[in-house]
Structure formats: C-alpha cells, structure tokens
Amino acid sequence: MGDGGAYFIAGALPQTEAPALEATPWGATEVVGHRLPRVDAYERVSGTAVYPLDVLLPDMLYAGILRCPHAHARVKKLDLTSARDMPGVRAVIGAGTPGGEIPWYQVRGRAFSRLFDEHCRHEGEEVAAVAAETPYQVFDALRAIAVDYEVLPFVVDEERARASGAPPVHDSGNRVGEPAVYERGDVAAGFAAAAAVVERTFRTSCEVHAPMEAHGSVVRWDGNRLTVWDTTQGVFAVQGEVARALGLPLANVRVIGHYMGGGFGSKLEAGKYTVIAALLARATARPVKLFLPREDVFLATGNRPANLMTVKLGAAKDGTLTALEFSSLGSTGAYPYSAATSFMASELYSCANVRTRDETVFTNAGKARPMRAPGFPQCAWALEQAMDELAGKLGIDPLALRLKNVPATAQRRGNQPYTTAGLADCLRRGAEAFGWDRSRRPRHGGSKRRGVGVAACFWGYAGGPPSTVIVKLFADGSVNLNMGAADIGTGTKTVMAQVVAEELGTPLERISIEHADTGTTQFATPSGGSKTVPSDSPAVRAAALEVRRKLLAMAADEMKVPAEELTLRGGEVVAKSDPAAKLAVSAVPGLQRQGALVGVGTRAPNPEGVVTAPFAAHFAEVEVDTATGEVRVLRVVAAQDSGRVLNRLTFANQTFGGVVMGIGFGLTEERVLDRNTGKMANANWHDYKIPTMLDVPIDQQCVPIDRPDDAFNSTGTKGLGEPATIPTAAAIANAVFHATGVRVADAPITPARFLQAAAQKEG
C-alpha cells in the first residue's frame, strides 16, 4: 500500500512454507485468552532484566558522536588531531577516515548521504565520533574536535519547503517524489448531490518517539565476526543493514535484542550509531558501547511528521456520504520517507466518490521514521473531526453518522471483503460501555464544561509470513520456545508462551524463551506494524502442534491408545475417553530415548482475495476550563477489534498505552523547531511534554470485541498496538468541541491553542 503499512518489509520477503500440519481453529481455550501476568514480570520489575544499555563487557570503551549544530551546513574543515591527543582517547573517526564513506539513507539504489557526510542537512547530523576509556573522556574529546562549518540557508517549514525559491535540501529539490493521487467515482458529482458539505484544514504537530531507553548499541568483534547488543524492534533488520554497511556476510553479524526500553517505530532500522560503534571497535580492537544522549535521541532517531490536511465531506440528508476529498502535506525531514496520511480516509467509511492527494517534502530536520501507525493518527485527527462537523451540520448524532457509513468492503483494495470487520461492533459496544446516549446530553455549567466525543479507525496492515519458530520439548517435560521476534514491551513473550501452553499443556513457568537473537533464533520481521502476534503466533502454534503430534505418537505406543484419542494436560498425556489412563510427559519412553522433541513451525500464507484489518472506536469524556483552556480527560473507553484476545491483561495494557500516547498526541506533545535557525528548541524531557500521570485518566476501559478471525490465521488474531492509539486524540478533540463549541483544528490542544481558537470563534 505504500502508506506506511509495509515499512518494515525491506523489499519482497519470501513466504515461509505452509506448516506441515493443518491447524484447526481453536474453540474454547484453557490458557489462551486469560488474564495472565507477564512471564518476565519479575525480571522487569526487579531490575534483573538486562537491557542493552546495561551491558558491560570487559575492556569496553565508551563512544560518542559529534553532531552538526546547524540546520544546514557544509563541513569545510574537520580537524580530528586535537581530539586524538586527549587523555584516554583510543579512536576518532569522521569523514575521511575508513568507513566514513559508507552510503546511508538508500532508496532504490540511490544513497542520499553517507555515514559521515560533509553536507549536513539537519541539526544533529553525524560529523565525527570518538571512543575513549570513560564517558567523560568521550565528552571532552568531542568538544575538542575542531569543525569549520559553512552555514547554508535552511527550510524547516513544510509549506515553505515546497514554495519556489526555497533552499534546496537536496540538489534534486524538496519533493520526495510526485504527489500521490488516488481517485474513485465522480467527486464533483458527489459534492453536487450532497445535502451538506463541510470543509476544514487541520494540522498535527511533529512528535518524537522518545522511548525511555535511548538508542544505542554495544559491539564486540571476534576476528571478523561482530556481535551487537542493540536496543531494537528487529534484530534481523539490524543484522541486514549492519552487514551491508560493513561488507560482512550475514552469518558474521550476530544481533541480540532481548530486552529493549521502547521503540514505537523508531527502532525498526539500524542506526548509524551501531555502524559507528563497530568501526570504532575495529579501530581499537576493544568492545565499544555507544548510547545516545537524550538530546541526540530527540534530534536524530526519527519522528512522526507534522501534517497539514484539508478534508471536504459531502453527505445526503440521511447521512450517507456522497463525496470525500482529502489532501495532505507533510515533511519527511532531510531524507526520504513518506509523510502520507490519506489511506484511512479512503477506506474507513463507505463512499463511492473519493479523491486523495499526499505530498511529502524534504526539510532540514531529522528524518521521520514510522511512529505507531504511520499516517493514521494524523488522518484520524482530520477525518474524524470532519465527520463530527458533518454530523453537526446534518443534525445527526456523530455515532449514528458513523454507523450509517460502515463499509462492506476494503474500497481502496479492490473492494475485497474483510475476513472480519469489527467497525460497527466497536462503535456499538464501545458506545454501550461508555453510556454514549446518556453522556451526549448537553450539560450546563460555569467556565468548566464537560463533553464527550467518539472517533474510529482501522489499521492498514495485518501481518503475514515469513515466520519460522522452533519449539523444543525436553525429557523432563519443560519446553524451550525459540523465536526471532522481539518483545518490545507488549508482552510478546508471554502470549507466545501461552500459545505453546495451550497446545502442550505445559505450565508457563516450565517454558523458557529464547528470542530476538540472529545467532540462535529463526528469521522474523521486526516487531512493528501491529503484526507480531498475527504473524508469529500461528508459527508458534504450528511448532507446538508438531511437537504435540510427535509426543502423542510416542505416548500412543506406550499407552496402547490411538494418538488421536490422546490429549495433553498439566504435563501429562491423558486419554480423552478415560481420564484415568494417563502418563507423565517425562515418562514417555520415546522422549526419554531421544532427549528432546523438536517442532518447527512456519507462518502459512495469508488467504487470497480478502483483506484483514483490526478496527477500533474510542470514546472520551473531557472537562474543559474555558477560562484557561485546560483540558482534562476524565475517562476513555477503547473498543478494539483485534481478533482473538490471547491475554486479556496484556491486551488491556497495550490498549491503555495506546490511549496514553494518543493523549500526548492530542494534548501535550510537539517538536518545536526555531524558525530563525531551524534548530530544535525543546530537545529535552522537560520542554517536550510527554503526558504525566496527572494527564491520564484512571478511568480507562478496554472493550475487546474478541471475535476470532479464523479465516486469517490459525490463532484467529489481528494486531492491536497501533489501532489502540489511532483514534484517541480525535475523540478528545470531538469531546472538546462537544463541551465548548470550539473546534481546535491544530494538535495538540494546549491551553494556548484552545484560547486562540476560542478567541477566533468570538472574534
């Protein structure tokens, strides 16, 4: 689709073969679906979990990166000698030293930059790097590097970037490709036939991912083999990029990513820091640790682009949409990526006449990266507020207007049917849990006003092959689950262990997990795109089923009961017809003789001719102090259709996390670039305002639809991470309007923006 769903797939990936055993859909389940705590909860809470930032190796050096302080500049002269002479310094590299020329930001064979490029296109671009015995020596040495910059004209505003005469970020201009236009039906006729038309321009701010654990790596060479401890969402993605950059065979690059402290899309790819650390480690023959200081994370590890979006909607008297027009402008920063947002607008609601246009430009700012549903929260901000306005104009309840336009098919994807479509369910069941009808009644008050709002979404990617997983049953009945996927904090390890437990009857505490290590686990795509569960859990199930089949065959010999009449429960093989006939797994002679049973599971191809998508609808109640513009979110109900729920607790956790992130998008977070210098004004935790506990309501309710999507995969699962955050901000904005009659079109709704919008309305 090219709008952000397939970002984690580097080129066309091979399909894994269909698993050997056909897996029939689960009916009722014993372990899957329950509220179970994380299998690694103790490690995470006690501090025994080792994150890459914690890794300390004998003889290890520390490293840091010198970055360009200007929005746009050319390095005229770089003098590394004084830094080399500093105490404790073991290596200094930059443009002109080996590896500095490594191509970077490559798209279709064209490299837009180099590891160290004299042409610095944004504040924070890498100029040189140092390895030294202590972090303080690194700090001092970085400041001793003398750089002579030619400061160039810059552009950081996306509208200015596309105007003629704007300073070019690249010689080829500031356009990232031609604007992408999509059209169906007859838009002009659709608007002509409309009884009501609304049109408004919305803007969202640029957000940064701001994970708790900064980006970075620890690297060690053993001869020509490189081991990388990386804080990443995808060890295999990092392996591929690092191997390519350094000219190494894949087999010589081992990337380990067991625990990681948050990514949200910013850790789907290899960072320059990993390759820089590897070059420094090679130059010094010492292990090197390179973690970015917080400022660098803000400047150079990705962001969600700001978007300027104009929405025009037309509808008949009864609310049936007759036409929809959506245009979007966004900036990718200095290197190619997509800032498109229109995809959801063309499929969320049924509409025959649609035109969308997406334009992405370069600016002199850090490159954008996928951020939790790339393009979709921005689209929801605009589209769902426009739907609210349309409902107001037609005099129809906003919930009813949405239900009126629930689509039957995926309209932008050949009108294919959905395997399961939960939009209407999310709207209805969410509304019921929220008490929509009751809450919607107007209330009066002084300067503090309460209101409610709704917004909906789907997410454009569902996952699929490849995925290969190994499950190993040891002679004592304990199990090792071996999978390549990262657990980025979502509970991946826990739910996958539940899938194994469901099939093998093994207690969770007897299942150990080996994961996210290119040296010891099987290929998996990065954990992103809300696809880890729907991509990898069927492979886990297939591997467990293979072990089960082998084990039951062995037990059948011993018990003289046909294998198909046996099942596994609590570490025992039990005859279905005669529960008294049982045998401990560890007593199965075949297993004892063999030592261990191994099952290999793969992810079957996705079904053809159908589309799979998770859906959601969020409902928010807010209190707005119209005198001050303070918005307090009082409660949120999030109805999520993500297929079968594997774990009720992690499901709710991830939903709440999405809601919190949505509150940041809607109310507090924005990157501020100084108009006069192009430099970031708020590259710190304090000025870049992530919501605190006081900004998040305790009253959050997750309503899972929990309808297994058995036509899609063998676990009936769809994704959750992204649809849990897409509509939150728009629901809040609609609630603010319901409370006050003030439409705040620009995110985030800070007191300042509310007061400005309120003054404009009066004025």
Partner: protein, 322 residues
C-alpha cells in the same frame, strides 16, 4: 555530561560565603536546577558550593508574628506544613504546584527563588544575549512561553511559583555576605533585564540567600495561588496568579495580585490592586480588576493568549477567593 568542577561542602555559613565569593563559584541547594544547568552547558562553574551541611538554614518556624523559612527548607516541606496550609494556604498551593513530587522533595525554597531562566534558547544550544551573544532568539522566534510584561532585550519569564506568592505576602529575603547580612523585600530581590540582563537577582558575589521571612497577615486575609500549565505536573506556569487579599467587612482593605509566567520577575499587577481597594468583589469588580491587570501588556508574536489567560485567571481566582 556534567563539566568538571571542584566540590566543597562548608560546615559553616561563614565558610560557605568565603567559597561563594570565589569567581566562578555556584551555590548548590537541592541541585534540581543547578545540575541540569551545568549538564546542559548553559554556563560553567569551577566550584560548586554545597549548602547541604548548614543545618541552620533548614526548617520553618513561627516567631513573633512572622513565619521564618530557612532557605534549605524543601518545597515539599513547605507544601505539607500544617502551619502554612492553615495560615497561608496560597503559599502551600504555590509550593504544591512546583514541578513534580520528586523535585519538590529535593528542591529548596532558596533554590526555587534563585532559579536560572527556563527560556529554551537560554537553556538550549543557542548563544543568546544572556549567555554573552548578541541576539535574543526568543524575541523573533518561538516565544509562546515568553513574557508579556517587562521584557526589554531579554524576554524570559521567571520560573518560580513561590516567588509571586511571597511577593504578594510582602515577604522579606535575608542575604548573608562577606560584609554582613542584609534584608530585602522579595519583591526587590529580582532584577529586570533592563536593569541588568546578566543577572536575575540582587545577590552579590559571595552572598547567600539564608531565609525568607513572611510577616503573618491580619486574620481577615485570604490567599490563593492558581497555576495554568500545559500538562498536569513537571511543568512551569503558562500563567500563575498569586492573590493576597485582606478584608474590612465586605470590602477589600488591601489586595496584592502578583503574576507568574508573564515577566522576567514576579509581576505585580498594581493596577488590579488599586482597582480592588475599597470595593466589594462582585463579578463586575473582579472583571474590572482583571482588565486592569493586563493594562500595559505587550504580547510577542506567539503569546497573545497569555493576555486572555491573565484576564480570565485573575477574574476567576478573585471570585473564588470571596
């Protein structure tokens, strides 16, 4: 990274003053502002003089109609003090509005008054006027958080929540220095950029703020502090309003309206004070005082909303106080 510095922990005030007088020395109370300031490289320091060994600078006590607050008293202690909550609820509110629980536990009253500006250009990688450059980046830049009053050449806003309340209460600051001790009203403790844009307070080299003394107001006095910020905690005021109003029956005998987040110093809205004196605070009078509070405001390109915010907040907080 923190730059290199010498660390000393004096055992007596006299010793602290001696160290503080060394050029390049800085005072360390709770460190919540100082350490970030040094880490961000806003300015260097060759000596960090910790005051933490000076027990005599800690604690609150009521004495002869005055509340004496040692400079090392933590903001959390102030917020939780029953005496303060009972007699000067506005001061407790101001203390509770500071930063976050962790920072209030560590940050001190003295340090809160001696905070360096929070302007993001000053704190960030910008060689601004205040750091010896030749430009105030905020004047023509991203100035949504900057001042609407009193910004000549440098347009930061004073970051303290306590200071406006203390000014409203007519508090005094005791300063001890190489040539003895002196007392200045907290109102006169702060320095406007037009007077001297290289400093924020009247502290001379070697001088230490040792305590704040609040004359306890007459019984019929009410105080309040209301802060508006972008997020619920760990955020400085967009606008804060400190009120201390004493009554004579139904009528206002005396009022002090002091604003946070609008000027490089705690800003006295003297026009509002005058408008309130002798009147009964009806909604109309509250609105009149609120209007008087914004007279003379000169918003920058991006902060006109602060004028509305001051007007609305003064009006609402006055009415809430009645």
């Amino acid at each position: 990274m923190l730059p290199n510095f010498r660390y000393v922990k004096p055992r007596s005030l006299a010793e602290a003053i001696e160290h503080a007088a060394i050029p390049g020395a800085v005072l360390h109370g709770g460190g919540t502002d100082l350490l970030g300031f040094l880490r961000d490289g806003v300015a260097g320091a060759n000596t960090v003089v910790s005051l933490s060994g000076l027990a005599e600078l800690r604690g609150l006590r009521e004495e002869r109609g005055r509340l004496r607050i040692g400079a090392l008293t933590t903001v959390a202690e102030l917020a939780a003090s029953p005496a303060v909550m009972h007699v000067l609820p506005g001061l407790a509110q101001a203390a509770a509005a500071v930063a976050s629980p962790q920072l209030r536990n560590q940050g001190t009253v003295g340090g809160n008054l001696c905070q360096k500006p929070r302007c993001w250009y000053y704190r960030g990688d910008f060689h601004c006027l205040r750091k010896g450059g030749d430009t105030c980046f905020a004047a023509t830049g991203e100035n949504q958080y900057h001042c609407i009053f009193g910004g000549e050449s440098c347009v930061y806003v004073h970051p303290s929540d306590l200071a406006p309340m203390l000014v409203a209460l007519g508090a005094l600051a005791r300063l001890a220095g190489p040539s003895g001790s002196r007392v200045v009203p907290v109102e006169k403790f702060f320095v406007l950029p037009e007077e001297d844009f290289t400093r924020e307070t009247v502290l001379e080299p070697g001088e230490v703020l040792t305590e704040v003394v609040i004359p306890l107001p007459p019984k019929a006095t009410r105080t309040s502090y209301r802060k508006v910020r972008t997020r619920g905690a760990w955020d400085f005021a967009l606008v804060g309003v400190a009120l201390a109003v004493s009554w004579d029956g139904q009528l206002v005998r005396d009022a002090r309206v002091v604003l946070a987040g609008v000027a490089p110093i705690p800003w006295r809205a003297a026009g509002a004070d005058n408008a309130l004196r002798g009147v009964r605070v009806t909604p109309a009078e509250a609105a009149r005082a609120a209007e008087a509070a914004v007279v003379g405001a000169r918003p920058l390109a991006m902060n006109a909303y602060k004028v509305d915010l001051v007007r609305n907040l003064v009006r609402e907080t006055l009415q809430a106080l009645v």
